[in-house]
C-alpha cells in the first residue's frame, strides 16, 4: 500500500511533491496504521478514499498549475508563501540538533553579523530586507554558526 501511495504521488506536479510528498507519506503511514487497527473493512474504505483523493488531488493540482501558466511565465504555480521559511523550517540536509542549536544562538549570530557592519539578527529585519540581504542573513543565522570553522571564529 505504501509503495502504491508513493507511486501515485508522482502524479502530482514536481513543485508540489518537492514541498509536500514527504509529509504526505508520513501522515498517510500514521493514518493507515490506525485504520488497520480498526479492522479490515475500515482499512479498505480508507485505502479506496486515499487512492481517489490522491488521483483527484493530482488532477486538481495540474489544473491549478495549468491555469497559473496561462497568466504567468517562468515561475512555479506554488505561491512563494508556501515555500518553507528557513527560519521556521529546517533546510534539507541539516540535522534537527544543529538547526535548533543554530536558531537558539542569537548572541553568536549577532557577533558574527556585527563584524560585517550590519545588525540583522531580528526576524522583523529579515522580513523587511531585500532578497540579497535575506540571503546574507540566512547564511549568517543558520549555516555559519554550525560550520565548525565559523563556529570557532565566533567563539573567539
Amino acid at each position: 500500500m505504501r509503495r502504491v501511495y508513493k507511486t501515485l504521488l508522482r502524479l502530482y506536479p514536481r513543485d508540489y511533491t518537492e514541498l509536500f510528498a514527504a509529509e504526505m507519506s508520513a501522515v498517510f503511514e500514521e493514518v493507515s496504521e490506525e485504520r488497520r487497527r480498526q479492522g479490515a473493512a475500515i482499512f479498505l474504505r480508507f485505502a479506496v478514499a486515499e487512492l481517489i483523493g490522491l488521483v483527484t488531488g493530482a488532477v486538481a493540482e495540474w489544473i491549478a498549475k495549468s491555469v497559473y501558466a496561462v497568466y504567468h511565465t517562468n515561475s512555479s504555480y506554488i505561491s512563494g508563501r508556501c515555500l518553507p521559511d528557513p527560519l521556521r523550517i529546517r533546510p534539507a540536509g541539516l540535522s534537527r540538533e544543529s538547526y535548533f542549536a543554530a536558531l537558539h544562538a542569537p548572541a553568536k549570530t549577532a557577533d558574527l553579523i556585527d563584524e560585517t557592519g550590519t545588525c540583522l539578527n531580528a526576524h522583523q529585519t529579515f522580513v523587511l530586507a531585500s532578497p540579497l540581504r535575506r540571503l546574507l542573513i540566512l547564511i549568517c543565522k543558520v549555516f555559519l554558526p554550525i560550520h565548525p570553522r565559523m563556529g570557532a571564529k565566533t567563539r573567539v
Binding site: A26, V27, V31, E50, I52, L54, A58, R88
Partner: protein, 96 residues
C-alpha cells in the same frame, strides 16, 4: 474546517485529520490528498503558515493560523451567524 481546527493551537497533518473528524462527529474524513491540496491553497493565501517544532521526536511540520487567517475565520463565522439568524427568523415567521 481546517481554519477552525487551527483556531486554538497549531497542529500537524495527522492531528488535523483527527481533529476535523472529531469536529464533524466522524462525518468528514479527509484524505491526505484533499488535506494537503487545501493546505497548499491556505498557505498560498497567507491564511496559515508552517514551522517545525523542536519538541517532537520526528521533524513534523506544524501549521498555524496567521492574523490574516484569523480574520478570515472570523468573517466566515460572522457570515454563518448571519445566515443562521436569517434562517431562524424565517422559520419563526412560518410557524407564526
Amino acid at each position: 474546517m481546517i481554519l477552525t481546527s487551527l483556531a486554538d493551537h497549531p497542529r500537524h497533518g495527522y492531528a488535523l485529520i483527527k481533529d476535523i473528524e472529531k469536529l464533524s462527529d466522524g462525518r468528514v474524513r479527509l484524505s491526505t490528498g484533499t488535506l494537503f491540496g487545501a493546505l497548499r491553497r491556505l498557505l498560498g493565501n497567507g491564511w496559515i503558515e508552517r514551522f517545525e517544532q523542536e519538541d517532537t521526536s520526528r521533524g513534523k511540520q506544524v501549521y498555524e493560523l496567521t492574523p490574516e487567517g484569523l480574520r478570515q475565520l472570523q468573517s466566515e463565522l460572522d457570515r454563518m451567524r448571519q445566515l443562521t439568524r436569517a434562517a431562524t427568523a424565517r422559520l419563526k415567521m412560518r410557524e407564526a
